[in-house]
């Protein structure tokens, strides 16, 4: 008798214990999940927004338009400007490297200052002027403190209209460029990058690095550069972003002072789009010096203004764009520790937008790593993403949006690119709405089309790949 109550009591206590545990666990789950939202909802820092307004401004004399943001957090001003369709892909076959060399030479002396004195002048006034090219475009950047703006405007104007392009400086910059080309081949990743461009784009301008070829760089003369500048620097291809401690009127006048003497229209020819074969294949490149096997993947994608851009952007984010949280990193890195990291992203080349990605791993892990990649790729194409994943992607893309406004040069750059990509002056207000409007159905429709098992090129570089990977094509 004494045992029953005891039992009963015990059993009762057991239930009670379970109930208490459930309550604690429940409360813990509850507080845990609530905590995160609660911290955000109750934060004393919420409600602070990015108020800077983008204005389209028009220079009074030349009529050149630009996007502009006034910001006086610091007494500094930045401008970015782009000459579209003047990048390295437009270099003639026998002058590969001309666009890049031209960009380098613009700050090697201008007006009455030789290379040394020009750079000394920039340092003295803390003015930064630099030019660079990518495959599509030629761009320039100015950063100056407010007090030195007049001097900065004059120096920048001189780089565009009175560059010296002297023999000694050209010879030096050529030598430096040739060494940069050689350095690209020092690492397996550089060798893979070079090989991939060649294999995908072949003889098209996209197939060569922006630095150009050794023969091309060697053959460039001062006259080629002068010719490049007069052909490409025209108002019809010019896009400008200005940000910082400067008024709208001053910014408009600044544009006239620098750019108004440019010719109106460009004469040089457009280039064709490359014909790229995206049909499924694995290509191997033998490289004895590589301690890991490195892989690049290429697949078709869409241009910036395509209706499928945002859905594909989100599908890519979930697949390979979300850092350690992407599907590919979750499967390959976080679960199996196969790689330091894998990624994919959208490349927005004007004439051949594509999806590009990569990973690297030691030879013992390689087969599994490649298998996971292809497997995840096919799952994305067949099943798409879930509602939960869509929400996750939207949360990230929207709440990370303000991070791009971190410095005044980034602001100028965003503005110039908004104009270049034809996104509209209201893009900064609308971008998160564009993201919000993307539906699960659209993402999955687009994923099916672009994460296709038939359209995926994998190019691997490493030692003894043939023995490892069986029957694929191999370059020696």
């Amino acid at each position: 008798m004494s045992r029953r109550p005891h039992y009963a009591q015990k059993r009762h206590r057991g239930w009670l214990l379970i109930l208490i545990i459930l309550l604690i666990v429940g409360a813990w789950f509850y507080t845990r999940s609530v905590n995160i939202d609660k911290i955000i909802d109750n934060s004393i820092l919420k409600g602070r927004t990015f108020n800077a307004k983008v204005e389209e401004i028009i220079a009074p004399n030349s009529g050149i338009k630009a996007y502009f943001i006034h910001n006086n957090e610091n007494p500094i001003i930045s401008m970015e400007f782009i000459f579209a369709d003047s990048g390295s892909a437009y270099d003639a076959d026998n002058k590969k490297g001309l666009a890049n060399l031209s960009a380098q030479m613009l700050t090697e002396g201008a007006g009455n200052l030789d290379d040394f004195h020009f750079k000394e002048e920039l340092e003295k006034y803390a003015i930064d002027i630099n030019y660079s090219v990518d495959k599509d475009d030629f761009s320039g950047r100015l950063l100056t403190i407010k007090d030195n703006l007049p001097r900065a405007i004059e120096l920048l104007r001189q780089t565009l209209f009175e560059p010296r392009i002297e023999y000694n400086a050209l010879q030096r910059v050529q030598q430096q460029t040739l060494q940069k080309i050689a350095r690209l081949r020092e690492s397996p990743s550089g060798r893979l990058k070079e090989a991939v461009s060649g294999k995908i784009f072949k003889h098209h301008g996209y197939g060569t690095s922006v630095l150009g070829t050794i023969e091309g760089v060697k053959s460039i003369k001062a006259a080629d550069i002068s010719d490049f500048l007069s052909r490409n620097f025209t108002k019809d291809k010019l896009f400008i972003g200005i940000a910082g401690d400067i008024s709208k009127t001053e910014a408009e006048q600044l544009i006239d002072k620098i750019f108004s003497a440019l010719p109106n229209e460009r004469k040089s020819k457009d280039i064709s789009s490359p014909s790229v074969d995206f049909s499924f294949r694995i290509e191997n490149i033998e490289d004895k010096a590589a301690p890991q096997i490195l892989s690049t993947i290429i697949a078709p994608s869409v241009s910036r203004l395509d209706k499928d851009f945002y859905p594909l952007y989100i599908a890519n984010y979930i697949f390979g764009g979300a850092g350690l949280n992407s599907r590919i990193n979750q499967s390959a890195r976080e679960k199996e520790g196969l790689t330091y990291g894998a990624y994919t992203g959208l490349s927005l080349l004007q004439k051949s937008p594509h999806l590009v990605g990569g990973f690297s791993t030691t030879p013992d892990n390689f087969a599994r790593m490649q298998e996971i990649f292809i497997n995840e790729w096919n799952i994305m194409g067949q099943k798409g993403i879930s509602n939960k994943e869509l929400k996750f992607a939207k949360n990230y893309l929207q709440s990370s949006y303000n991070l791009r406004f971190d410095d005044i040069s980034s602001l100028a750059s965003i503005l110039a690119n908004m104009q270049r990509q034809d996104l509209g002056a209201d893009f900064l207000q609308k971008r998160n709405i564009y993201i919000e409007k993307v539906t699960l159905e659209r993402v999955n429709k687009v994923a099916k089309q672009y994460f296709s098992p038939e359209k995926l090129v994998i190019i691997n570089l490493g030692a003894k790949l043939n023995e490892r990977n069986g029957n694929e094509q191999t370059d020696k």
């Binding site: 995160i36 911290i39 955000i40 934060s43 004393i44 820092l45 409600g47 602070r48 990015f50 957090e73 610091n74 500094i76 040394f116 750079k119 340092e123 003295k124 006034y125 803390a126 950063l143 403190i145 010879q171 030096r172 430096q176 040739l178 060494q179 050689a182 350095r183 020092e186 690492s187 397996p188 990743s189 301690p291 890991q292 979300a322 850092g323 350690l324 976080e334 199996e336 520790g337 196969l338 790689t339 330091y340 990291g341 690297s360 791993t361 030691t362 892990n365 996750f392 990230y396 929207q398 709440s399 990370s400 949006y401 303000n402 991070l403 406004f405 971190d406 410095d407 005044i408 980034s410």
Partner: protein, 444 residues
């Protein structure tokens, strides 16, 4: 990729950006000490509703036990693998979902966790960072996986890059028996043998508020940041002790020539690395060395660049780099690339001559020119909250007070010609390491 190592200390930014500004304060920062001993530095920047949140622990690879190389770095990885409250990989998921750019890095003296984040989520980052300061859990599965990942990381970042192998060899020669001679990642053998207790012991001993510096830069007022820091971090009691390292005593007594021929190197490089004071080992001297470095080899108007690259075309690149933030002692490095047809030995001789001639021509007028370059445009350093937090954190970890960080301009102004000439005496003795890396075979 996530969790990069900070392999080269990066303070040359300080002298690249440059002020005529009469305002003496470089960043306009506010400093606090929390009740538990944690140092807080706030750098307001109201341009956009964003903030950089960086927690700097004063522990790095140099604090590892012999044979346990890579344990500080592996711990850094495991800090993303769950606590008692935030399980598994929820830290990464929550940060990503809230738009954070979250990462960490390990160097010889420090392990740093940082988030670049919308200001509305800063409190969340503080909550999560404070949580993993005290509540970390490490299970076997995560440990094994992360150990594999850091092994792959070493393969990808170090072994795939021949120049990196050269720089590790230079570090070994320069630091000799000092812990800095060992790779930050550990060697492959060390990584594969690490145990959970190796990383736990670092966590227990060094991950405490009194051994950490919190830097917040962005759209926040200093008093608000202080309140929040007390709210989230203030409850963690101090324990262990603050890791204040002494400078190395025996570095600088050797002179080693190191020559490597590597198969995948295409372009030869040379360097000379000299022992120099760091803030921790000789704080009163560092500004003169900064001026010396700027004068000789920072930028395209520097004396060595003008002489060897522009005028005489013996080199295609040359630069100097002065590291004064390392706790064990500083270093002054001259690095160059020979022009085509110039041998590495010929270039090294020419560097000697160019240094001698530059120092002979150094006068008060040149000194003023260089100082103007260093002081004009200093306002740029606080434009980007990410850069500002990075620079301030690095200097604070090197031991600088808030006032020392803010008074950069005044300290540079006070450097005299005699100070710089004294600093340059270092260059008249043989370098501690003369390093050459060349292509294998006859590629050159």
């Amino acid at each position: 990729m996530k969790k990069k190592l900070l392999l080269i200390l990066m303070l040359c930014t300080m002298s690249l950006v440059v002020s005529k500004t009469s305002k003496a304060e470089l960043f306009g920062l506010s400093g606090y000490t929390l009740n538990n001993g944690m140092r807080l530095i706030v750098i307001p920047n109201h341009k956009a509703p964003i903030a950089k949140h960086m927690l700097w622990y004063k522990v790095g690879a140099a604090d590892e036990k012999i044979g346990k190389g890579g344990s500080a770095h592996l711990l850094e990885h495991l800090m993303f693998r769950g606590t008692k409250k935030i399980k598994g990989q929820d830290f990464n998921r929550i940060m990503e979902e809230n738009g954070a750019d979250s990462n960490a890095f390990t160097s010889q003296d420090m392990t740093v966790y940082h988030q670049f984040i919308d200001i509305s989520r800063l409190e969340l980052a503080m909550f999560l960072e404070a949580d993993r300061m005290k509540n970390l859990t490490i299970d076997n599965k995560s440990f094994e996986t992360e150990r594999q990942i850091v092994f792959q990381e070493r393969k990808q970042v170090v072994e795939n890059n021949p120049l990196y192998r050269f720089h590790e060899a230079v570090q070994r020669a320069f630091w000799q028996t000092h812990p800095y001679s060992r790779p930050i990642t550990g060697t492959e053998e060390e990584i594969l043998k690490l145990k959970i207790k190796d990383v736990k012991s670092i966590y227990k001993k060094y991950y405490n508020p009194n051994n950490a510096i919190l830097v917040i830069a962005g759209n926040i007022e200093p008093d608000v940041a202080y309140k929040l820091a007390e709210k989230y971090y203030g409850a963690i009691p101090p324990h262990g002790k603050s890791n204040n390292k002494l400078p190395a005593e025996n570095v600088g007594q050797t002179s080693i020539s190191l020559s490597m021929k590597l198969p995948d190197i295409e372009i030869s490089r040379v360097l000379r690395k000299y022992a120099a004071p760091s803030y921790n080992s000789g704080k009163e001297q560092i500004y003169a060395y900064m001026v010396l470095s700027k004068y000789l080899g920072e930028g395209e108007t520097s004396k060595l660049y003008d002489n060897l690259v522009v005028q005489r075309k013996i080199a295609t690149t040359i630069s100097t780099d002065y590291n004064y933030t390392s706790l064990g002692g500083g270093s002054f490095t001259i690095s160059a690339t020979p022009a085509k047809g110039v041998t590495v030995n010929a270039l090294l001789r020419e560097i000697d001559d160019a240094v001698t001639s530059a120092l002979k021509n150094l006068n008060n007028q040149e000194l003023e020119r260089v100082k103007t370059q260093m002081l004009t445009g200093l306002v740029y350093v606080k434009d980007n909250p990410q850069d500002a937090a990075q620079i301030v954190g690095m200097l604070a970890l090197a031991g600088m007070s808030d006032a020392e960080i803010e008074n950069y301009a005044d300290n540079i102004k006070q450097v005299s010609l005699a100070d710089v000439k004294n600093a340059a005496m270092m260059l008249q003795k043989p370098a501690q390491v003369e390093g050459i890396v060349e292509p294998e075979g006859d590629k050159r």
